[in-house]
Amino acid sequence: MRMDLIQPFVSAADSVLGQLLEGPTVVGNPSMDEDAYRRKGVAAVINFQGDIEGRIIFDLEFETAFRIATRLAGGETAVQHPTEALAAETLCELANMILGNAVTLLNDRGFHFRVQPPEVHTDAEGLKGSYDTEAVVMSFETPAGCVYLNVAMRYNRRRKTEREPALAS
């Protein structure tokens, strides 16, 4: 998998998490994962198609989701009713922001693709890489806990600027 496709997601996650949680984010070393995905807490899957296609999984432990929910709600005290639904909503909001920022970076580099709304993933495992590629797994250590990103994507077709030299040769 090309790291130039992954980097916008790393930059977006680092920037959004840092801004939302008002603290430093430590990005863990990326690792490759060829096995079926194992959910750690509450996970959201986002699929996209276009010049690039693939999927991203955002995964949080429930406690991390509740701490982030507290921050997003602007409160200093913990959320009153920590439910799975609240954790899922927190994750989807976070995922949308990170993905939106990453898509902006990729789009400005000439990649066009459509992003589907996040789907909350409730199975304990599954979603084995289905894009002829293994997934890259990254962790982001934040003041609220760890956020995991599992990215599997590939080029669907090359951009016009990349196709032209190939056609000329």
Partner: protein, 151 residues
């Protein structure tokens, strides 16, 4: 949350009324808190573009904060329809997807400005102030800047 000098309208000396449109409850709550810190009033909320049109007609807000990616009807289409009915509507797009095509499409349909999520209150405040000032709506002493106090 940080408090800002209240924005008020020059004619009626009343708070600015906002319509907040976003499919995320979190985002709506967050924007509502910001609106409050600007001294504004929440005229209404909507979770999709279709409801936004209904709510606009019902509440006739001074300014709309509109998400782009939403179910049923996306924000850009909602902008087009609102502007068709109300050419003077003041709509600010608020979205995490901030690439040029999206921004241009929204502006071409009649949106006044764009702010990318996660939204910083000071950035949104300046944009709202700019849009209202552009129409000569702000009271003279209104929106001189941020207050030093913290809520």
């Amino acid at each position: 949350m940080e408090q800002f000098t209240a924005l008020s309208l020059n004619k009626e000396q009343r708070p600015v009324r906002y319509l907040v449109v976003d499919d995320s409850i979190f985002a709506r709550r967050n924007l509502a808190r910001m609106v409050e810190s600007f001294g504004g009033e929440l005229a209404g909320e909507a979770g999709d573009g279709l409801t936004a049109i209904t709510e606009y007609n019902r509440t006739l807000p001074d300014i709309v904060l509109m998400d782009i990616t939403m179910p049923q009807m996306e924000g850009i289409e909602a902008v087009e329809r609102i502007i068709r009915q109300h050419p003077d509507a003041r709509i600010v797009m608020v979205s995490s997807v901030g690439y040029q095509e999206n921004i241009l499409a929204a502006l071409q349909k009649g949106a006044r400005h764009f702010v990318q999520k996660p939204v910083r209150p000071d950035v949104l405040y300046e944009i709202v102030r700019y849009v209202l000032n552009d129409d000569g709506l702000l009271a003279a002493a209104s929106g001189a800047g941020r207050q030093a106090t913290q809520a």
